[in-house]
């Protein structure tokens, strides 16, 4: 055993490297996702993403139209900052202003559309057991985290959301100027009458929020403390990210608002125009 772990030669180094595989941690991707032991819909074969993201880290993935994404705050102090781009046309992306203005609602919850800048719905919130989310404060920046925690760089123990997003975006050939304002889940903010922004904190361990995607998307997730997190110490905990195929759910959407219905119409119209194959939709 000692010999195989030596790294003085290429053969030994290779053996040393290969011996590391199979290690299991509490924050890692499970590949293939179908190997995830507890698929939320009971059908392992439909799983397309199963990853646990540590506090202060990020993840990204391209997901098909009809994917349902579940974000779970495992230990009660995750904060999932989210950006969404249309995968087949990444210049179309999340627009937080339209996301709150069009539905006449500042707070994210069941049925809330996450709208693109092109009058289409990228995702709908289809489940929410937390109710503590934010579409107003965006994410953290280097100077802010440095002032608050002593460090905010990507390599630090308290990385700013903007640093994490910069790298996540770069992996999809998107630049910092491509980063629009973001949403965040699991740390609430309330607006007082005078406009004051007040943290309402976290809903506790185990809460989840589910998004259903109406178009193919690039999803960027940064799991780092909310800018108004009152905790002076960086204490962001693990985020569980699961996704599975659920295209049939596009036929039963949880929102009857006329603005939402028109957003869905616009989205279906654009998708139909951009695709030749007939979909397996009723």
């Amino acid at each position: 055993m000692t010999e195989t772990l030596a790294t003085a030669t290429t053969h030994a180094a290779r053996a040393h490297a290969r011996a590391q595989a199979g290690t299991v941690t509490d924050a890692m991707p499970i590949v293939p996702a179908s190997a995830w032991s507890t698929p939320p819909n009971g059908r392992a074969a439909t799983m397309t993403w199963a990853e646990t993201v540590p506090g202060g880290r990020y993840a990204s993935k391209v997901l098909a139209r009809g994917t349902r994404l579940r974000l779970r705050d495992l230990d009660g102090a995750a904060c999932a900052h989210l950006l969404i781009f249309r995968a087949d046309a990444p210049h179309e992306r999340l627009n937080v202003a339209d996301t709150v203005k069009v539905p006449w609602q500042a707070y994210l919850g069941l049925g809330h559309p996450l709208l693109s800048d092109q009058g289409r719905v990228l995702a709908t919130v289809v489940a929410d057991t937390s109710g503590r989310h934010d579409a107003l404060c965006g994410t953290t920046h280097l100077a802010g985290n440095t002032a608050k925690y002593g460090a905010g760089e990507l390599h630090s123990a308290s990385p700013a959301g903007r640093e994490l997003f910069t790298v996540a975006a770069a992996k999809h050939d998107l630049q910092p100027r491509d980063l629009p304002p973001s949403l965040s889940f699991f740390h609430g903010v309330k607006v007082e009458d005078d406009g004051s922004l007040v943290s309402t904190g976290n809903a506790g361990a185990g809460a989840h929020v589910d998004l259903l995607f109406h178009l193919p998307v690039i999803v960027l997730i940064a799991n780092t403390a909310h800018p108004l997190d009152p905790n002076p110490e960086f204490g962001t905990t693990k985020l569980e990210v699961l996704a599975w195929r659920a295209p049939e759910e596009l036929n039963s959407l949880p929102n009857d608002d006329p603005e939402y219905q028109r957003a869905v119409l616009n989205t279906e119209d654009a998708w139909a125009a951009a695709t030749i194959e007939t979909e397996n939709r009723q």
């Binding site: 500042a106 009058g119 107003l136 965006g138 100027r177 406009g195 028109r262 957003a263």
Partner: protein, 216 residues
Amino acid sequence: MTLLAETADLALVPGRVVLDETVPLRAPWSAVVAAGDVLTIVDLHGNQAVDTLIYDAADHTRRYSAAATVTAQQNLFLGTGSVLRDADGEPLMTLVADEVGNHDTVGGACSQESNTLRYGHHTKHQHACVENFLIEGAKWGLGKRDLVSNINFFMNVPVEADGTLGIVDGLSAPGKRLAIRAERDVLVLVSNCPQINNPCNGFDPTPVRMIVTREE
């Protein structure tokens, strides 16, 4: 000379007038405002939303961030003393004088596309702020990816306790002004909002006046 004297009187912060332009109704506008100079915006006819984006004149990737701005002041509304920050939290401009208050940071710009959701597909070909931002931004090499949630000066967007928010009747009036001081050389990109389906312009878009003064 008389005109200049009048302009100087209209500026909220005294100084030598280096720019005085009227933005026609529905039109875009842009200018570089030098560090230390003050831009006074005059809501000539009252309740005219002035959609505004700000960029570092030397590096357009450093741009106004609604999130960084409202988070730093822990308040959603802009008023006297509000520092308009970039995404790294650094000041771009400061609202040094304001005769109205409660300027909006949330509503963003109207677009042809979002108008179809908000008011119906018959509004698709009406004028909209994003069109203005794109055509005016193109003069400076700015494109769609450079547009983010903008400031809406003179626009009133309250948020109710249950999260309901919306554009309601404005707090401004004919001749009301505000003044923003450049903390570095900045490019100010404006859409004099052409929206006709909500009260952000009192359902009647009108011109606004832009005056830049420099300390003497």
